[in-house]
């Protein structure tokens, strides 16, 4: 059974379409990244999955249960964007509260906070926490009670690079234990390395939903070859390769994926005139721009 199934979900606010005919699955153990501009419908989709707002049309199932039902909520963990807590409570009290709401032992709170590196601040009020620390409290509460589905809205915002890495390691571990993860992020480089599948939302429409390598193939974006020529031969290199001179010594070429080897051969023929060569495949940024700009069919 799929951990999460959305089929043809539609939602409009007033006259504005927030989500149009969106279909998406998350399998157990799968990590799916949801990308999109601000206002593309990511948070709306998450709120529908969580049962916080109803969909106008379409079906949502969380491990076979309706969104918002007790069964669905019991297996779903959520991390809202800009997560907030009551400033008067300490981290420990807040996590104990969430543990009790899930019917877990409140004594687990300390170890959970330790796991997120908040052990020393556990007895301080959340009002005194930094943004990154609050974010880590938010992640701690999402780990309570072995959730089958995690819905994480910008899980690493406000975190430093080391903490980000730690968070993804925790998520990998949860996915390894069979949890399905749906996360949104603006940090495309981490999404690139840490997710199995990427869904791109644009104006409420899912314009792409595939693994990164398949998205690359489908987009067929040009590969960039950055050739550093010998200073005396820059013009000749640029001319013979039909490339663009970038600065003192660099010549840039672009080519399709299937032309790549030919072009590399041409470059190799120039021998001594070439000092260095770098092959730059299209980045996730390029793919993201490509898919989210495409006109909606």
């Amino acid at each position: 059974m799929q951990t999460l199934t959305l089929s043809q979900v539609t939602k409009a606010f007033g006259g504005t379409i927030a989500l149009a005919d969106a279909s998406l699955n998350v399998a157990p153990g799968e990590r799916v990244a949801l990308l999109g501009h601000n206002g593309a419908g990511k948070s709306t989709m998450m709120k529908i999955i969580l049962g916080l707002i109803p969909a106008d049309d379409g079906d949502v199932e969380i491990v076979g249960a309706k969104p918002g039902s007790h069964a669905a909520r019991a297996v779903t963990a959520y991390l809202p964007e800009n997560v907030a807590f009551h400033p008067s409570l300490t981290g420990l009290e807040q996590i104990r509260f969430y543990l009790r709401l899930r019917g877990e032992d409140p004594r687990l709170a300390k170890s959970l906070l330790d796991r997120l590196g908040l052990g020393s601040a556990a007895s301080r009020r959340i009002g005194t926490y930094s943004k990154g620390m609050r974010q880590r409290v938010g992640i701690a509460q999402a780990l309570i009670g072995k959730p089958r589905l995690l819905v994480l809205d910008e899980p690493t915002s406000g975190l430093d690079p080391v903490s980000r890495r730690e968070v993804y390691e925790i998520l990998d571990q949860l996915a390894g234990e069979g949890a399905g993860i749906l996360l949104s992020s603006h940090a495309l480089t981490e999404v690139e390395a840490r997710t199995d599948r990427i869904a791109i939302l644009s104006k409420g429409v899912i314009v792409a939903n595939d693994s990164l390598s398949n998205l690359r193939r489908r987009a067929a974006l040009p590969i960039q070859l950055q050739v550093t020529a010998h200073p005396d031969a820059v013009d000749e290199v640029a001319q013979r390769l039909d490339g663009t001179r970038m600065n003192g010594a660099r010549v840039d070429l672009t080519c399709r994926d299937d032309e790549k080897l030919n072009r590399l051969g041409q470059i190799a023929e120039l021998g001594q005139m070439i000092e260095d060569l770098e092959v730059v495949p299209p980045s996730l940024e390029d793919l993201y721009t490509h898919f989210s700009r495409r006109p909606v069919q």
């Binding site: 969580l50 909520r73 779903t76 809202p80 009551h86 409570l89 709401l101 019917g103």
Partner: protein
């Protein structure tokens, strides 16, 4: 039950931190002490014990203070969670909105009970100090205690309803003050002026008793004063409403919290986080 207790526990913790517990207890203690000290001045001619007199004064105080404290604790309950952005996360947990609200209610009612117990105990102690006969008034004081809790429960629940309807703490606070003014102050003033204007007496006999019973604060005052021997101390509405049987007042006091809480849950269910 665990989830309701978790919400109650958390809410109590917050109230303790925000000094709400301290404020409520000190307020009740202070007012009770002042009233009982004033009521214990030698009078003699009334022929009732000092605690019964104090209970009559405390009743008049509680009519104003208990709804006010209850509304002040309750107005933030839902609107504050929305404002802080904590509500949407809480609602993704396997906990019903009714459970959350009952948890908050238990915490707030507990704080109110603590404040009232401290305040009324001080009043009893002062009265007993001056007049050994004051122990006669203890049943009246106990009745005042639990009926104050019923009154507090009504206004806590009304406060939650206001909080859920307003959705913003500022608006909720304004509505809470408005409700207090209308239900506690203006309602009685309006009734009194209607009584004065009523020349043929039909209003006084037919409608007025029902209007008294319909207001939880008036029902509370009526119930405590009519059951007490010190009715003659009471003035205004309390004295004017001798025609209403106290069983009806009691029924009103019991029904109001239930109705108000149902209203609060209905309003809370309509909140979209």
């Amino acid at each position: 039950m665990t989830r309701t207790m978790a919400a109650a526990n958390s809410e109590f913790c917050i109230s303790l931190r925000n000094r709400w517990v301290a404020i409520a207890v000190v307020l009740m203690a202070l007012f009770s002490f002042v009233l009982s000290a004033a009521g214990s001045a030698p009078t003699g001619q009334l022929g009732v014990d000092k605690l019964s007199i104090t209970v009559a004064s405390l009743t008049s105080l509680a009519v104003y203070l208990v709804p006010l404290v209850a509304l002040l604790m309750a107005f933030d309950a839902v609107a504050g969670e929305i404002e802080r952005g904590t509500l949407s996360l809480m609602l993704t947990y396997p906990v019903s909105r009714a459970e959350i609200l009952v948890g908050k209610f238990m915490a707030h009612l507990g704080i109110l009970a603590l404040a009232l117990a401290v305040g009324y105990s001080i009043a009893a102690a002062v009265a007993l100090w001056y007049d050994p006969q004051a122990s006669d008034g203890i049943p009246a004081l106990i009745r005042l205690f639990w009926s104050s809790l019923l009154l507090g429960a009504t206004f806590l629940a009304l406060g939650y309803a206001i909080s859920a309807i307003a959705r913003r703490p500022g608006a909720a606070a304004g509505l809470a003050v408005a409700l207090w003014l209308v239900a506690i102050v203006l309602y009685d003033l309006a009734l009194l002026s209607a009584l004065v204007a009523d020349t043929n007496g039909a209003f006084t006999k037919q409608v007025f008793p029902w209007l008294i019973v319909a207001n939880p604060a008036d029902a509370f005052r009526l119930y405590n004063l009519s059951a007490s021997e010190a009715t003659m101390v009471a003035t205004g509405i309390g004295g004017a409403a001798n025609t209403v049987p106290s069983s009806q007042a009691l029924a009103s006091m019991v029904i109001w919290p239930v109705v108000a809480f149902c209203l609060a849950i209905a309003a809370f269910r309509r909140v979209v986080p």
